[in-house]
Amino acid sequence: MISLGIEATAWNLSIGIVNEEEILSMKSSAYEPESGGIHPREASQNHSENISSLIKEAIESANLNPHDIDIISFSQGPGMGQCLRVAATASRALSLSLEKPLIGVNHCIAHIEVGRWDSGSKDPLVLYVSGANSQVLGYRYKKYRVFGETLDIGIGNALDKLGRSMNLSHPGGPKIEKLAREGSHLIDLPYTVKGMDFSFSGLVTSAENKLKEESRENIAFSMQETAFSMLTEVTERAMAHSDSNQLLLCGGVGNNSRLQNMLRIMCEEFGSEFYIPRSKLLGDNGVMIAHTGMKMYRSGISHPSSIEVRPNFRPDQAEILWRD
């Protein structure tokens, strides 16, 4: 079975084509704002300008014809409504013209499923960290349950916001990571963990306020040490409470080597195994949509062309029929 997936929840537009065993192609086009953060309308305009040619590229790169594709999947949500609609529209059109089934996929679940597939992890606790999402999830009773999450913004957005205050171009996260390597002095910043939930906006504001008196390197360093310690602590607590002994890291912020390092150390001390997919599958990508859509279809799910996008689609709102 050949599955084509379209990812467009935020700034990255990505097409992935897979079969049961392997990735056949992946083509991405990232929207990069000139200044400031992501403007939804501009991002969606960028996506709609590029989507047709990107789909064509992906199909050609896989040495396929359009009619070789068996199912069409798209990121139904959560995400920016305008961006999601670009993916949905293109998917509907493809599905109708090729007369093939259409599947709306939950973006967070896609990260988890492709993470499990690529890393070989069977039943992990999941730390999912991206721009807008920061959640600790686990599979229970046919759903991915949220054990803990951000009470305000995602860690990626927090890092990007700090980056903007430092006049770094978007995305700020990787640049903060680079600066942090040169930092060494731990500035006292608010460490906010409430049970299994956490909060980053106070931390960002506090870090921004220190820009007048501290170096960018030390602020970046302190921001990472504080924020990542918070995430690691909550993840460890969730692991203790849920009796799981595998951890899967996914989401774009999973590319951060300090975060990976912290989680690895925590897992080693705790006695659990650490799993992470390949870097190209960590951030938002079309392969995860194609892969998850295929799993959904094979477990009996497909959607009418009238299917709507869901900007606030939570992972615990979808049924996971392909797991025990």
Binding site: P78, L186, G195, S229, M239, I265, N312
Partner: protein, 207 residues
């Protein structure tokens, strides 16, 4: 470890490791509990010591203050930089048999939290692992993340964390109404908090 040895030095055989949570090791000897906050290698030593010292001191004070306001908690017997010595509550964690409690126990859970919030304190980590049933009474333990906080947001998060725990780990949403009943009996400001809990659970990205 020296702290453990000096505390139990008068005893012939060593203390028994009762529990090793994510946060601390719990030792038991002669009906006393030693809660020792574990050092974590994943975080900077400076941050690690700061967090542990701060939480130990605060936890002891909050346990005492909660107890004074009628919340069933263990008694604090002694305090160090990274450890607290407590009375031992010889019961069972609610987590182990949550689905089968009698309904009045769920109400009691709500009453405990209501009294706590009336005292201007939020627990900070309300899960079924932090409640112990002993002689028909439910005790609250592990106040390491507790705060003196009267904001409806914090109280809402307190309840939200527990309700999420019940929904996701225990899959028993229907007992929440009993907990809310007990909570509103013990705390006058309950309606505002319930409304906030509803808001918090709807919050997500892209609002």
């Amino acid at each position: 470890m020296d702290i453990e040895r000096s505390t139990f030095s008068s005893i012939n055989s060593g203390p028994k490791l009762m529990d090793r949570g994510a946060e601390a090791k719990i030792y038991l000897k002669n009906n006393k509990i030693l809660k020792l906050r574990i050092s974590k290698s994943y975080r900077l030593n400076e941050l690690d010591r700061r967090i542990r010292r701060h939480r130990t001191k605060k936890e002891a004070k909050i346990i005492s203050d909660s107890r004074k306001k009628g919340v069933p908690t263990p008694i604090v017997l002694d305090l160090g930089d990274f450890y607290i010595l407590l009375e031992y509550i010889n019961g069972k964690k609610i987590k182990d048999d949550f689905e089968n409690l009698s309904f009045d126990k769920y109400v009691q859970i709500g009453q405990n939290i209501g009294k706590l919030h009336s005292a201007g304190i939020v627990h900070g980590d309300l899960t079924t692992s932090n409640m112990i049933l002993f002689n028909g009474k439910i005790y609250l333990i592990d106040f390491g993340l507790a705060e003196y906080d009267m904001h409806v947001e914090s109280r809402g998060v307190d309840l939200h964390v527990l309700f999420q725990d019940i929904k996701s780990y225990h899959n028993k949403e229907e007992v929440i109404k009993h907990i809310k009943k007990g909570y509103s009996e013990a705390f006058e400001g309950s309606n505002k908090v319930f409304k906030r809990v509803s808001d918090i659970s709807k919050r997500g990205r892209y609002n």
